[in-house]
């Protein structure tokens, strides 16, 4: 890990310039063409269609001539009280899951960092939740863990004489956060374990000799070393958490009310439950703007750790 992003760039681009001169310029573009073209189409075609749909009256149940309505769909979507709730829920969901998985992941990674009996097996078992499909994850938690009568949590509560919590009714968003965090914690943890494996043991040993306590080691040795992997974890999770859908779809259905509706689910509701493709498209465009704000913010924040 002696290489950091900045010095890496310099010799590389110099080398690249070298190769570029000797190689035909056409080939690199030709090789990139399939990926760039397909992704461009994948982005631009739906985008243009969405923009068009968002400006017309388009109800899936009432086919008719395309009637231009200006910004009425946007107005409808934004003035819907569900809109602000769903933006709040989206940010809360992303924020909580990232905090839980990064902090928990670091703690867990430090716990299993040094060798102990069965470390290989623990590592293998730990990643399991990452492989569980969201629909299974959601139903498993909803029924077997969180059911207020038969669920494991209810039984534990009863055992201690407490009233079982009705998770889906009273804490719907928290329930979703638990499910999603459970899925992503192992991912974060394993990336951090891999990062820790490349730490310089002698430096750590030296720091210990010099009397650095555990917190100091954490602050000045472990965390700086993990900075890049923390950036990667946040980046990846952000991409997937912006579009959390199946967990909501299979458990709370966004409710009660809008309590667990995120932006993605609100758009889905408009499109396929209210059949209003026009409003859904307006919502989709707003979601793209929201996603881009988050992305810009994110890349500003951790971008230099990424390349």
């Amino acid at each position: 890990m002696q290489q950091t992003a900045a010095p890496l760039d310099v010799p590389r681009s110099a080398a690249a310039r070298g190769t570029q001169r000797s190689a035909p310029r056409l080939l690199p573009r030709l090789l990139m063409a399939p990926a760039v073209t397909t992704l461009f189409l994948w982005m631009i075609v739906p985008l243009v269609m969405t923009i068009y749909f968002s400006l017309i009256r388009y109800n899936l149940m009432q086919p008719g001539p395309d009637e231009f309505t200006g910004l009425a769909n946007f107005e409808f979507f934004v003035t819907d009280p569900s809109f602000l709730t769903s933006v709040g829920n989206t940010l809360l969901l992303i924020g909580s899951v990232i905090v839980i998985t990064v902090v928990g992941g670091i703690a867990l990674a430090l716990l299993v960092n040094d060798p102990f009996p069965g470390r290989g097996v623990v590592r293998m078992l730990l990643i399991s939740p990452f492989f569980i499909m969201p629909t299974v994850n959601a139903l498993m938690w909803k029924h077997m863990m969180m059911n207020p009568i038969y669920g494991v949590f209810a039984q534990i509560a009863e055992f201690f004489g407490a009233t079982p919590i009705d998770f889906m009714a009273d804490w719907p968003l928290l329930s979703i956060i638990i499910m999603v965090a459970w899925q992503w914690l192992p991912f974060a943890c394993l990336i951090f374990i891999t990062a820790l494996a490349s730490m310089n043991r002698e430096q750590l040993e030296a720091a210990r000799m010099d009397g650095a306590n555990y917190l100091q080691q954490l602050r000045f040795m472990y965390l700086p070393h993990m900075a890049r992997s923390i950036a990667v974890v946040i980046m990846i999770e952000m991409i997937f958490l912006l579009s959390v859908f199946a967990e909501i779809y299979t458990t709370t259905g966004g409710g009660p009310g809008d309590a667990s509706t995120n932006v993605a689910f609100l758009i889905f509701k408009q499109a396929l439950l209210n059949f209003d493709a026009g409003v859904a498209s307006a919502g989709a465009l707003l979601a793209v703007v929201l996603a881009n704000i988050v992305a810009v913010f994110l890349i500003r924040m951790i971008g230099k750790n990424l390349d």
């Binding site: 569980i132 459970w182 990667v232 993605a264 758009i267 989709a284």
Partner: protein, 277 residues
């Protein structure tokens, strides 16, 4: 010295116990699910939970009968393998080009590709649905393969790029000096050296496609439904079928979890996106 050794052992013992307890707690829901799959419906909702019981296989038989598990499993296999191969075919040349013919715009293109991932899938739902319907790809495995490939492509390019970037250019220069053409370079230098990257990227894509639920739920019905969609059909509130739900879920996650266990080292290595050397 002896005393120090002893206290060190205590620390290790404590850490071992803690690590195992936390791990078992984390995978507890999966174990519980696996256990419920072998119970009868009545035992499944018994309170308090019975930990010892006579296992039964009837749930698995019923899942196959009631909802044709094998068809969904076949669809899952076809779509995940198909989209992985197609994705690698498109992503590998692009990543190679970006890593070895780096220009000023390379970073921008990469960031642009990633930014397409930031658009929530639901944003494209109406258009993609309409396009799929018009082209006859709705509820077909081919349609799903195309959508999975495209939605995984940015991550695949990024992951492969971070692998290829670390292959020393000198090796390629040497191959070129020895008269290797582009194909030779690719075949004899890049593929062997980049094998790890191709493998981890492929693995991640398999997992993502296998578990993908949004498009699978919205673009398929009876023909091309994948296991993720099958499980969602068990969420309908027509009563509590925990044992059958568990059996179906276990059948849906077992292949990919077992596969994941054995390939996790490779997979995690790739997921660091070159953040760890």
């Amino acid at each position: 010295m002896a005393q120090r050794k002893k206290s060190f052992d205590w620390l290790e013992a404590g850490r071992t116990v803690a690590a195992w307890v936390v791990t078992l707690l984390i995978i507890f829901p999966i174990l519980f699910l696996a256990m419920t799959a072998f119970k009868t419906e009545l035992q499944a909702i018994e309170v308090p939970t019975q930990w010892l019981f006579k296992p039964t296989l009837e749930n698995f038989l019923e899942v196959q009968e009631r909802s044709d598990y094998l068809l969904y499993a076949k669809n899952s296999l076809i779509t995940s393998i198909g989209s992985t191969l197609l994705g690698l075919l498109i992503a590998a040349p692009a990543a190679y080009s970006m890593a070895f013919f780096r220009t000023k715009r390379t970073r921008d293109i990469l960031m642009w590709m990633l930014s397409t991932k930031f658009m929530p899938a639901v944003g494209a739902l109406v258009p993609i649905y309409a396009l799929a319907q018009r082209s006859g790809l709705l509820d077909t495995t081919l349609g799903l393969i195309i959508v999975f490939t495209l939605s995984n492509l940015p991550i695949m390019v990024w992951m492969l790029y971070s692998y290829f970037r670390d292959i020393p250019h000198e090796i390629l220069e040497a191959a070129r000096m020895d008269g290797a053409g582009v194909w030779g370079e690719f075949r004899y230098v890049l593929v062997p050296l980049g094998m790890g990257g191709l493998a981890s990227t492929g693995l991640l894509c398999l997992v993502l496609a296998w578990n993908e639920a949004f498009w699978a739920l919205n673009l398929t019905a009876a023909n091309a439904g994948t296991l993720a969609a099958l499980i969602a059909s068990y969420s309908s509130p027509e009563g509590l079928f925990w044992a059958k739900l568990s059996a179906a879920s276990l059948l849906a996650i077992a292949p990919i979890v077992v596969f994941g266990w054995f390939s996790q080292k490779q997979l995690v290595q790739g997921l660091t996106f070159g953040a760890v050397k």
